[in-house]
Amino acid sequence: MLAWHAVLFAQDRFPRPEFESGYVYPDHQLPVQRGPVWEYIDLAVLIGALSLASWLALKKRSRQGLVWLSVFSLAYFGFFREGCVCSVGSVQNVALALFNEGYAIPLTALLFFIIPLVFALAFGRVFCAGVCPLGSIQELVGFRPVKLPKAVESVMISIPFVYLGISVLSAATESQFLICRYDPFVGIFRLDAPYTMVIFGALLLLAGIFINRPYCRYLCPYGVLLNIFSRFSQKHLTITPAECINCRLCEDVCPYDAILPSDIVKPVEDPQKERRRFLTYILLIPLFAVAGAVLFSNLSPVFAGLNSNVRLAREIRAEKEDGIIALSKAAIAFKEAGKTENELFQDEINMHQRFRKGSLWLGIFLGISFGLSLVALSTRTRRTGYLPHRGKCYSCGRCFQYCPVQLNNKVSNEKA
């Protein structure tokens, strides 16, 4: 709704009326070109915000501070910079640059891709905690969190892997930037978007009041990378500032189901059986990769539909072979351009080959991800206290206030 009015701005195309009164039209005012200085400022703000988020999450342990940082990031990266450049979308720039020699990735986009990952390796997902404008807007509206059933949660968290794969495939084949096109919040930031996307964004925010950060959890493709990098983080936010006393008060407070309970209960399963399962999953990984490759290679014609040239060629062929008239603007423009059908069809074949190759790798990636997830679920690490799940934890600090160790310290400090 917020952005609808701006959609209408885009239609400001009245033909000039012809005045008989001698009215003189004012000169055209051309907007000043965006200078590179803002790119440097964006980078400085990004690094500053990430550093501050790390300090607030790991050292200061201030949930309040992280919320205010979210407000700032939403205002700066969201409404002021209108959601661009953003780390989430930069995945596509990187994919395009990796697979197309002709594309020179802007340095800002590259750094926006790399810097949050570097911070994730060092301090966990502090980018999500209060720097990402997409995460911030959801974080601020999530004031009535409820936990989804684990079955639903475990099904939904697989979607970002698929979305990441398809987005990379689409960008690498020069087809389209899916993440930007279907960004649900950028329309709200810019007050300009197709109304369907604004409705999608508004619905996500409404859902986000109860199901916190729905986009981050069930769609965000960059979150997949942060999840992986954060698992290897040097340092990470902790629930308790000192040794965990296993009071279990934090056990159910994380809306993202990102708290790992201590593992002090004696395991009920036969360790031999556990080991066998672990080995089986390890051995199955190549099989999953091959199955994924076969499955997604077969799907490549479907994915090829993401490419506008392929869609155009299909439309023209349908007209030629089945008599279904090609009515799209692209088809009309093609006919006007004078390009031959054979050239178009050759493009289609080339694009199909690229998609086939890309889909194969997408299948392998998803197969391996599935296999590794099974392996991770079959391993057990001994934990003496409650710890955040390094991959899933958004470092939002919601759990801080539930830890009595901290509360006790505060009380004792106050008494002192």
Binding site: W4, H5, S154, V268, V302, G338, H352, L374
Partner: protein, 571 residues
């Protein structure tokens, strides 16, 4: 967070509720403004259009001009104020939502308390096994969905070797053989019957081959017969099997004639006058138009004709009147000239008068009016043509200002696009992909037909005023009122060649046997190759001036001059 007191929470709740209601009202107001903006186009305001029409009739009237200006300004003001409302509303909504969220956060923060101790600790191993099952289940579902999608959404690749194309062409040919009206446009002109103005479906394409290219009307070379038509008329001949039909009129006397195609003998002539409702005096028309400018139509069971006084008659093939009625005298400045056309037992009439413009469908057997669809715009002098697009047979007309398609059976309007202005007399040209509209002092436009029609290309260099263009799948030919003929690339709109023929063209060019037959007003037929390069084949003279479009049947050409009908034949 500091715990708030009950009183503070109450205040926050009040503010939050107020902000929520405010946001809701703003959102609804914005919604209404958006609906209003979407439904209202200040450039297409019926009130302004209507007052503009009045102004066009009386362009010197300063009061009318001021009214147009005032209404236009008001309309634009209303549009922009709605837009400003939406713009302001979005900021208000943003502010309202922010206050609502802030209050709710404060309330929720204050309500937080230390959670109660959870129940019995769950076994971690069984929890992980359960997760594994969920994950495996999800992957299984995704796999099945992917397999189904890969089969359902499979798309074959183009075969550039030509095998698939050949197969597709064969299938297309098969489809063409299986019936006259299939999903695709399967136009195939008959080499015997030439039933309407500009032939089958009114497309100016003649079937058959071996038409003469050499004749001389003055010395009789290749003139098989020549018959004087009793009464004057600019209507063109139409043919069914061995019968030719033309119309003529003098004063209030309107007649339909049937000639033997092989001998030129007049087999019968039937009066189309004395019909109830007919005006006492014939309407005033331009000298060039006359009362019998509209060409008759036949489907082998009936022959129907319309005249400028509104008389509409339908006869059987032996000249017996099946029915006749006067549908109202179409009053327009040059005189009525729209020809009738037939489709599936219906006689389709384009009724263009100063008072009313409409399309009518009559039952050819009973004369019952099956449907009438009112049109927008002003009267034109073009005739309807038939094309099949999106699997639907459509009657398409070149109107002013809209080119409009109607369902050929029900008369329902299918699509419409504003193209031309001024006096619109040339009928449309069609091929399987596009519709071409032209009139002088406006433009030539190639239109992509169907819902959401669009102009693909346009040109204003060669525009005809009376003669209708003709389109093949590859080329479009336009013969103008000052003697120019232009050939365009039908798809891209490039001008492939032009030639100046010295004399004007009123008759519409016909494509037959890969040649274009262009009859100029002096009676010389300019025959050129229907190709991308200008190549003249022959220029035989008729010896008499003619404005009528020739008819083609079984290797013979039939031309109506001012007074006679000629049969040109090399047999």
């Amino acid at each position: 967070m500091k715990k708030l007191e009950e009183k503070d929470i109450k205040i926050l709740r009040g503010i939050s509720t107020g902000a929520g209601i405010f946001s809701l009202i703003v959102a609804l107001t914005m919604l209404l403004s958006i609906i209003q903006l979407k439904s209202f186009d200040p450039l297409d305001n019926p009130a302004i259009s209507s007052i503009k029409e009045e102004f066009d009739k009386d362009p010197e009237n300063p009061v009318k001009a001021e009214q147009v200006r005032a209404l236009d300004l008001m309309s634009r003001k209303a549009y922009f104020s709605s837009r400003r409302q939406v713009e302001t509303g979005s900021y208000l909504l943003l502010a309202g939502a922010a206050i609502f969220i802030l209050c709710q956060r404060l309330i929720a923060g204050s309500e937080k308390s230390i959670p109660s101790l959870p129940g019995e600790r769950q076994d971690q191993v069984s929890g992980k096994i359960r997760y594994t099952k969920y994950l495996a289940g999800t992957v299984a579902v995704l796999t099945v969905a992917a397999i189904i999608s890969s089969f359902m959404l499979r798309s074959s690749l183009p075969d550039l070797s030509g095998r698939n194309t050949a197969k597709a062409s064969k299938e297309k040919e098969k489809k063409e053989d299986s019936g006259r009206r299939s999903a695709a446009d399967d136009f195939k002109p008959d080499d015997t019957n030439y039933p309407f103005f500009r032939g089958q479906d009114g497309r100016s394409i003649a079937g058959g081959k071996g038409y003469p290219v050499e004749w001389n009307g003055e010395d009789g070379t290749n003139i098989k017969w020549k018959t004087k038509v009793p009464k004057n008329g600019k209507s063109s001949p139409v043919i069914w099997k061995d019968k030719i039909f033309v119309t003529g009129a003098e004063g209030s006397d309107c007649e339909v004639y049937c000639l033997n195609k092989n001998t030129g003998e007049i087999l019968w002539s039937v009066s189309a006058s004395g019909i109830p409702g007919e005006p006492a005096a014939p309407p005033e028309t331009d000298f060039e138009t006359g009362i019998a400018a509209s060409t008759a139509a036949t489907d082998g069971k009936s022959v129907c004709a319309i005249f400028a006084n509104g008389n509409l008659v339908c006869l059987d093939m032996d000249g017996n009147r099946k029915w006749a009625k006067n549908i109202g005298t179409p009053a327009n400045v040059y005189g009525y000239s729209c020809s009738v056309i037939m489709y599936d037992g219906s006689l389709i009439v384009q009724f263009d008068s100063n008072d009313k413009v409409s399309m009518m469908g009559f039952d050819t057997s009973s004369g019952e009016l099956k449907w009438e669809t009112l049109r927008r715009g002003r009267a034109s002098w073009a005739s309807p043509v038939i094309g099949t697009y999106n699997g639907e047979a459509q009657v398409i007309i070149n109107g002013n200002p809209e080119v409009t398609a109607f369902n050929a059976v029900t008369g329902k309007e299918l699509w419409s696009i504003e193209v031309l202005t001024g006096d619109v007399a040339p009928s449309l040209a069609l091929n399987s992909k596009m519709v071409y509209a032209v009139t002088d002092y406006a433009r030539l436009a190639a239109i992509k037909p169907g819902p959401g029609p669009s102009i693909v290309w346009q040109d204003n260099m060669f525009t005809s005023d009376v003669s209708s263009p003709v389109a093949t799948e590859d080329y479009l030919f336009v013969a103008t009122g000052n003697g120019d003929v232009a050939c365009y690339d039908a798809v891209a709109g490039d001008t492939l060649w032009t030639h100046y023929f010295m004399d004007q063209f009123y008759a519409s060019p016909i494509v037959a046997d890969e040649k274009v037959y262009l009859l100029d007003r002096s009676g010389v037929m300019h025959i050129v190759k229907a190709g991308p390069e200008f190549e003249i084949v022959a220029e035989p003279p008729l010896g008499e001036p003619s404005d009528c479009t020739p008819a083609f049947s079984e290797k013979n050409i039939y031309v109506r001059s001012r007074n006679n009908i000629f049969c040109i034949s090399t047999n």
